[in-house]
């Protein structure tokens, strides 16, 4: 190890003080009392996503231009990124650490970018063959049903989708207008799901009419109900029945079927949710003047704020604190609506302030068509006696969509009420996994502790402020005249620019900082990972402090 060298004279010595032999024998790791180690956490965006997409990972893969891997990463949790990348209310972005620094990363736009890349590269989708004997029935082909079918087919189960309409898609097809989600995008997304595995489709068959739950239970080993909410709630006012008062969903269904609908000059939409916004904007595009009447104020509106802004920008008028009282009809045609003036009272159980009528204050509006969009209800025909229900929704138990019948699962709006596409996807995915465990007789997985990080865990010295990249749009003048998709999506340049903004919270993205800073050269850079050489790591923890994203943790030695 150490050999003593005797110098006869100074000429034998090196000119500078240095060891003659290598110092590798000196294992300085023995000086360490605290050990750094790579410890990847869960990024907050991922926790914010109902279906738990590995967002940090696919954004990193975008920065590496590995679009195929990015797409496969999303597909693990969501089979339709091109759809969610357009219509999701992106709760991930509300959790993005960057929102506490400048502006959240435009995750939604990046998801769409990758989703659209998937359409151009159909070979990315692996095709599953039937490997299981148990047959699964999926009722309804909205986001929940399609997702459940996808993840079961991927596992090798033969799946049959039953759809009451003649085309698949459910709310995606009939509820969401083309300017937000073009039919051709939906068609491609559905086609890629159907091609991914042993999925059979039976359209124009309605539960309770063409087929019953008992029949399904005889033929299939598990059944998933993703039948959504298909009926508009009635206003319950005088003279409601008759021409001129149209359920919003029915209007959307006709518009989305490609029908031209003339709703007259003056259109009023009742409601404050996303359906109300969709109906209003479609009516506007059909040539009407549109006013949305909502009984509370803009602060209480359940619609996504972006949708409200868009509607206003396009020319939809918003009228707050009014509620329809009576429909006025002359010779069976609608001529006007009497509204009750409201004010905000005490908060209700949802935390929003309750609308209270102001006694005696009413007004009348001239209306050609009144669209109702005050909520949707489920059509539970054929299920009434067989499944436990609550508030006209299917009652489920636990997180995985179990209903009161062992073989029957449910998820999406028919369980949650009017929720979101991504929650329906999450429900479909969880139910698929649960059905698989049930049929394979596997135990429940252990739930991992989602150790996450926030802005206080970031070393923000390494970041510079930047504005979020907005998604390019068609000119505003072209927006209202047609049903063309408004947002055109990111190109490569914008996608990379936006992906580069990701902090990669709690997860290594190979920035090399630890490797550069280690004063003992004790960090080895391997392919796609680093390794700490504990023989030489003195535990100075410079790597931990200089990691911009908290991908390292520390542990006291001997404990």
């Amino acid at each position: 190890m150490v050999e003593k060298v005797e110098f006869k004279n100074y000429r034998e010595m090196p000119i500078r003080a240095m060891t003659i032999s290598s110092m590798l024998w000196n294992l300085t790791g023995s000086w360490r009392n605290v050990r750094p180690y790579y410890d990847f956490k869960t990024s907050p965006c991922r926790l914010g996503c109902p279906t738990g997409e590995n967002i940090q990972r696919y954004i990193y893969l975008i920065t590496e231009k590995k679009y195929d891997e990015a797409w496969k990463t999303i597909i693990e949790d969501n089979p339709m990124p091109a759809i969610t990348g357009r219509v999701c209310y992106h709760p991930c972005m509300s959790e993005c650490t960057r929102k506490d620094y400048d502006e959240a990363v435009n995750i939604n736009a990046l998801e769409r970018f990758i989703g659209d890349q998937g359409f151009q590269n159909p070979q990315w989708m692996e095709k599953a063959k039937r490997s299981k004997k148990e047959k699964i029935a999926v009722i309804g082909s909205g986001p929940a049903g399609l997702t459940c079918a996808f993840y079961l087919a991927r596992r090798g189960y033969p799946v049959t989708i039953f759809e009451k309409e003649k085309a698949l898609g459910g709310v995606l097809r009939w509820g969401i207008p083309e300017y937000r989600l073009p039919n051709q995008v939906l068609d491609k997304a559905i086609a890629s799901i159907l091609e991914s595995g042993p999925i059979e489709v039976k359209t124009s068959i309605k539960l309770g009419k063409g087929i019953s739950l008992s029949q399904l239970e005889d033929e299939f080993q598990a059944i998933f109900l993703g039948i959504g909410l298909s009926q508009s709630r009635e206003l319950g006012v005088k003279n409601e029945a008759g021409k001129g008062v149209v359920p919003g969903l029915e209007f959307l269904h006709r518009i989305n079927s490609g029908e031209k609908v003339d709703a007259g000059k003056k259109v009023v939409v009742i409601g404050g949710g996303n359906t109300a916004m969709d109906v209003a904007r479609c009516a506007l595009r059909s040539g009407s003047e549109v006013t949305v009447v909502y009984r509370r104020t803009i602060n209480e509106m359940p619609a996504i704020s972006e949708e409200i802004e868009e509607a206003e920008k396009e020319g939809v008028k918003l009228h707050f604190l009014a509620s329809p009282l009576e429909i006025i009809r002359t010779k069976n045609t609608l001529s006007g609506v009497v509204f009750q003036q409201m004010k905000l009272g005490d908060p209700d159980e949802s935390g929003r302030r309750r609308p209270v009528p102001i006694e005696g204050e009413t007004f009348t509006m001239k209306v050609d068509t009144l669209f109702t969009a005050i909520g949707e209800t489920a059509d539970l025909e054929g299920l009434e006696e067989k499944l436990e229900q609550k508030w006209n929704l299917i009652l489920t138990f636990g997180e995985n969509g179990n209903t009161s019948r062992e073989k029957v699962f449910a998820g999406g709006d028919v369980v949650k009420g009017a929720a979101s596409v991504v929650e329906a996807i999450a429900a479909g995915k969880k139910a698929a996994a649960k059905i698989d465990r049930l049929l394979a007789n596997e135990p429940e997985p252990e739930i991992e502790d989602p150790h996450t990080v926030g802005i206080e865990d970031m070393n923000t010295d390494y970041f510079t402020e930047s504005k979020r990249n907005r998604v390019p749009r068609i000119p505003q003048a072209e927006v209202t005249g047609s049903f063309r998709e408004i947002k055109t999506g990111f190109d490569d340049v914008l996608a990379h620019s936006e992906a580069d903004r990701c902090f990669s919270c709690g997860v290594c993205n190979y920035c090399d900082n630890c490797w550069v800073y280690c004063p003992d050269v004790a960090i080895k850079r391997l392919r796609d990972e680093y390794e700490i050489d504990y023989d030489y790591c003195k535990g100075c923890l410079v790597c931990v402090h200089e990691c911009p994203r908290n991908a390292l943790s520390t542990r006291e030695e001997g404990k």
Partner: protein, 383 residues
């Protein structure tokens, strides 16, 4: 190509032509232009070097020490308080035998604050073991940089190039710009035999017992002694290729001079004008510019001065409680070998002008002074 550039930029162009690989510096007046231009050259790719920004001069030299130890050609520049803050690391560069080149712009030391020139900053680093070369023109400054790297790398010793604040640093002169492809023939790329190598780790700067410490110090002195001849040789090679040489010292009309004025830095050029003037009047006077201060060229200086009847040393510095610092060195060069009287003059501290009139006053005072032991004469102090 010729350009009209400031003295500070002459340094930058010298570094560019020398193809330094690492530059680390902290800004300080009057040096800042040097590294400002170099940072731009690094940014625009004119020079393929890593520019390391630091928070102090101590760190700047520490970064240079690391870079040089890793085998890179390394440069820094500073001034006054900055050089003094580097002091500990200056020792390190010598002890570790690292061929770093540093440009120091002579600036008076505070307090009181001053940004103007005098030599106390660099001369107070006399004993750390850096070679010191004092330049008098922008052209000489530029040309000295590649010379310095060549000497430094051969000796494995650091070199300090010194120039006057403002009189040189901020003065524009015509400079024949050196180009890297030409300089490469004179100064080949630096590939040291020993450098930090993560695949073959050694310990550097480690403990040396009394058994070894003196030998290491002996070798530094040996290198310094060798440097005298090497600087001359390298300067000769440079002259051969580029047609310009500067020598260890520069005697001017000294051959038959009865009195010789010893100067350094920009004062040397002013002195030569005064010499011409007084020669025209029939005074047998010459001037000796000392260019290389460490190693001190004792023999060369003795050779020139021993022929004169009187020597007057003009010091833009003062060793408090002693004398002018050049004066002391000149005196030791002549000690015991000749009885020529040496008179010392302190002038121009804190940037006060040393005009031709001041130099003439010193010359005339020296000629008439009958006291051969007046070692310290203050010029221009309001008494």
């Amino acid at each position: 190509m010729k350009k009209v550039i400031m003295g500070n930029h002459a340094v930058s162009y010298g570094v560019r032509a020398s193809e330094a690989k690492v530059i680390s510096a902290y800004p300080i007046t009057p040096q800042t232009h040097v590294v400002e231009l170099l940072s731009e050259m690094c940014a625009n790719g004119e020079i393929d070097a890593k520019f390391i920004k630091v928070e102090s001069e101590h760190s700047a030299m520490a970064a240079c020490v690391g870079a040089a130890a890793a085998g890179s050609r390394t440069f820094t520049a500073t001034s006054s308080q900055g050089l003094l803050l580097m002091h500990e690391m200056l020792h390190w560069a010598v002890g570790a035998r690292l061929p770093i080149v540093l440009a120091n712009i002579n600036r008076a030391v505070g307090p009181p604050w001053s940004i103007w020139t005098d030599q106390n900053d660099s001369l107070s680093q006399r004993d750390v073991g850096w070679l010191q070369i004092y330049c008098e023109s922008n052209q000489e400054t530029q040309d000295t940089i590649p010379q310095a790297f060549k000497v430094a790398e051969e000796l494995q010793m650091p070199v300090m190039i010194v120039m006057d604040a403002f009189f040189l640093s901020h003065t524009f002169e015509i400079v024949d710009i050196l180009e890297a492809q030409e300089v490469r023939k004179f100064l080949p790329p630096y590939h040291p035999d020993i450098k930090i190598d993560i695949n073959d780790p050694h310990s550097f700067g480690n403990l040396a017992s009394p058994e070894h410490y003196m030998e290491l110090r002996y070798m530094i002195q040996e290198a310094m002694e060798k440097a005298v001849g090497l600087i001359k040789k390298v300067d000769g090679e440079f002259q051969k290729q580029f047609g310009r040489g500067y020598g260890l010292i520069h005697p001017y009309r000294c051959a038959d001079a009865e009195i010789i004025l010893v100067t350094s830095g920009t004062v040397a050029s002013t002195a030569r004008a005064v010499i011409d003037e007084m020669r025209d009047e029939g005074v047998k006077i010459g001037a000796l510019k000392v260019r290389v201060f460490r190693p001190f060229p004792f023999e060369e200086i003795f050779e020139v001065l021993s022929r004169a009847k009187k020597v007057a040393v003009i010091d833009r510095n003062i060793s408090f409680g002693g004398h002018g610092i050049f004066f002391q060195e000149i005196k030791s060069a002549l000690y015991g070998r000749t009885d020529v009287p040496i008179l010392g003059y302190i002038a121009g501290l804190g940037g006060r002008d040393i005009t031709p009139g001041v130099i003439r006053q010193i010359a005339e005072q020296a000629i008439t002074d009958k006291n051969p032991h007046r070692y310290i004469n203050w010029i221009g102090v309001k008494t």
